[in-house]
Symmetry: C2
Subunit: 450 residues, 2 copies
């Protein structure tokens, strides 16, 4: 990638900053992979893209924003706030923990059966900031390590890299989620090396990138394993809503009896990403000097004063209005979105099945998983699903996907690719899988010929 042309003053010095002198995190292979994917996407704008993990846009209307804002301001007025106090809430610096914790707590109670005290919540700029704050709070020194399920969402490994925090990958089990035995083994190995495993990061529902989910009994087992290994669990749940059997999927936090789980939530998929609103449930007790007790949420807020000071009141007001408009029940409000994603996932799986009957699948060394919801599925193919293959697929077949290898911190996934169905229509999926099938046949033939 070449640097954009500059129209500023001529470049007379100092000498360019050597990248090696900037921090190592700036030269990240995963970021390079994402940058390359974005470049290819820009070069082939007509391609059907199974790449982006963003929500479908058809449910958003600009006219809704002022209506949501009004709903929130009316709510403030109804709770007795004066016009001046309302102005302060909307326009000023606000409490570091946020202003809509009560509405988020009501929504968590309604939608997840979670009894969360508003005081245990911190509103964040996306779940990403919550991840950063949580890692920073839990990992105290160079010996601290966080375990991450592998393949792993890039946000958590990125936040760890920003903080110079070591991550140790734990392979996902066959059912999805980190394998309990592997968690135990990883924690032991970390301890044996003189370091401290502090927490385990996991996406139990429809993980990004693998699309897999943990069975209910596996969730209880994982919590027991974490307790035995003295690990906190960081549960990230952006996709849990979008399932056929949503009510039967308790979060780890809902199963958590001893405050072992720090829960990361996001409104990016259930409301919209442009508000960049997420939150952390951190109800752990912290013992300070002189026996003083506080909540982990309050300690996270202190750290937040060093990252973004507070979460935009504007975003909180609009999302707060959206929660109020839907009676703090986003599951019901998202029923059309859930149906849309379910139809898309069904279309993807049906089209794959149609193009690749079992016999041909075996011949091509092809397989895929069957997610029960969410945005992602993973294909295992008989050739290297790398950047070069992705670019050939875009150029010659007009379809885009995401190579999986960069999601494996310890290597692996070279023959896997991620397909996201979230931002497409069923028609685009039918078209896209047709093109993808042609690519897979051509590429497998070339791989055999090579």
């Amino acid at each position: 990638m070449t640097a954009p042309a500059l129209t500023g003053p001529a470049l007379t010095g100092p000498a360019p900053l050597p990248l090696a002198e900037l921090h190592a995190s700036l030269a990240d292979p995963l970021l390079d992979a994402m940058t390359f994917l974005n470049e290819v996407t820009t070069r082939y704008p007509g391609a059907v893209s199974f790449a982006p993990g963003r929500p479908y846009e058809g449910f958003f209307e600009p006219e809704d924003v002022p209506a949501y804002l009004d709903a929130y301001l009316d709510h403030l007025a109804a709770t007795g706030l004066s016009r001046d106090a309302i102005r302060t809430t909307l326009f000023q610096y606000g409490p570091t923990k946020g202003v809509i914790a009560d509405l988020v707590a009501r929504t968590l109670a309604n939608d997840e059966g979670l009894a969360v005290a508003p005081e245990a919540l911190v509103l964040t700029v996306g779940a990403q900031e919550g991840m950063l704050l949580t890692l920073r709070a839990l990992c105290a020194g160079p010996d601290d390590v966080v375990l991450v399920s592998s393949p792993c969402y890039v946000g958590v490994t990125g936040a760890a890299r920003l903080l110079d925090l070591a991550t140790v990958p734990v392979p996902e089990g066959p059912d999805g989620g980190p394998d309990p035995a592997a968690v135990q083994a990883a924690a032991q190995a970390v301890r044996a090396s003189g370091r401290r495993p502090r927490a385990l990061y996991v996406v139990p529902d429809f993980a990004n990138p693998s699309g897999t989910s943990m069975p209910v009994e596996a969730r209880a087992r994982l919590l027991a394993t974490a307790a035995a290994a003295d690990l906190l669990v960081i549960e990230d749940n952006p996709y849990g809503f979008f399932a056929r059997d949503a009510a039967e999927r308790p979060t780890l936090k809902a199963l958590d009896r001893d405050r072992r789980v720090v829960y990361l939530g996001s409104f990016a998929k259930t409301c919209f990403p442009g508000a960049r609103l997420g939150y952390v449930v951190a109800d752990q007790e912290v013992a300070g000097p002189g026996g003083r007790r506080s909540l982990l949420a309050d300690e996270l807020a202190k750290l937040k004063s060093m990252t973004t000071v507070n979460t935009p009141a504007l975003s909180q007001a609009v999302i707060g209005g959206m929660l109020l408009t839907h009676d703090c029940r986003l599951r019901a409000a998202n029923a059309p979105a859930t149906a849309h994603y379910a139809a898309n996932m069904a279309a993807l799986l049906a089209e794959l099945e149609r193009h690749f009957p079992a016999a041909e699948r075996a011949r091509l060394g092809l397989s895929w998983n069957v997610p029960e919801g969410g945005f992602f599925a993973v294909l295992t193919v008989g050739f290297a699903a790398d950047d070069a293959a992705m670019e050939r697929c875009a150029r010659d077949f007009g379809v885009l996907w995401t190579p999986m290898a960069p999601f494996y911190p310890a290597g692996g996934g070279e023959h896997r690719l991620r397909l996201s169905i979230s931002s497409l229509t069923p028609g685009q999926i039918t078209d896209g899988v047709g093109r993808l099938a042609d690519f897979i046949r051509a590429e497998t033939a070339h791989a055999v010929a090579r």
Copy 2:
């Protein structure tokens, strides 16, 4: 401070997280001081508060928000974006560097005479995130050090602490701004200790907390000193607008001929804080592997993908609409605010003068600086201006202020207090200075008696 009552599940374990096991930054004396100040503020709601550094609220109206949003969406339509593309801009994940860089660049050209390429801009969640990203990019390892003017804004020392980055305080000179000789000496001392001074953080205009500004000739001298010492300069400019002689105050960035200055901007005071919108101008060239060149702005964006992914489109749209509404000329738009702050500062200084004529001032060991604008002035008093004094002042005299000592990273400021005039009216200032005068007389008498 006691932990808030929890309504969640009963606390059966794990054991409370020992604070010592959380990172040291969580037990920060400055944060403790701010927490205490907030507590006292809550306990004495009727007190006249010279404490908060927030802008005056009287210029904000909730009805303006939808109008600004509309102005931005109309602008997007006028530039040829389809309704679908507008929806994507407002609601989706967006470019990490932001979507309104062109409008910010136009505003910087109009208001500061800065020729900035939009590509060199990164929109951030407040200037605070810009600070964090800049420090993270510039400081590569345990030997890297950032010099900060002292007394120093808490945001930069906080961000450094979050990153485990060492800061070295450089005393402000008599005219405001870090003394060039002290900068040179500090850089040499750091080098002599085997570490690398990478950058100098400075607020040239109406610094928080000191209220002082650098004379123009001192600015050129500081840039020359930075060049000689091979330091980048991080210029933070939230208050530069609010001056009688604003046009005569070139930013360091405007004087910068060799891209030595990374410029942090904020819309918190010129628009409103609730959008949490700031930006970084980072037009430095970075040399990567294989001779690849990039802009520091692009490297900051990579780091930003690890902190907040992107800045809320909602905030950018509303502030973008505000910029468009004011023809990208915030100086003109802020004329009423500038006049308000100037009148307040004049009232503060006149009332101090009235209550403490020169002779009495000398007798009491009292003095203050005379800022030419901005939000802050500093009083030097004949007693310890600590938390206990602040609380006595709130309890017995109904007036609040901020102790200065926590702003000095290397100690100092024990007899100083910060007065902020930004969120008051001239009437409140007259009333408040009267109460403050009574407190100062009483406290000085006690100090002498002790």
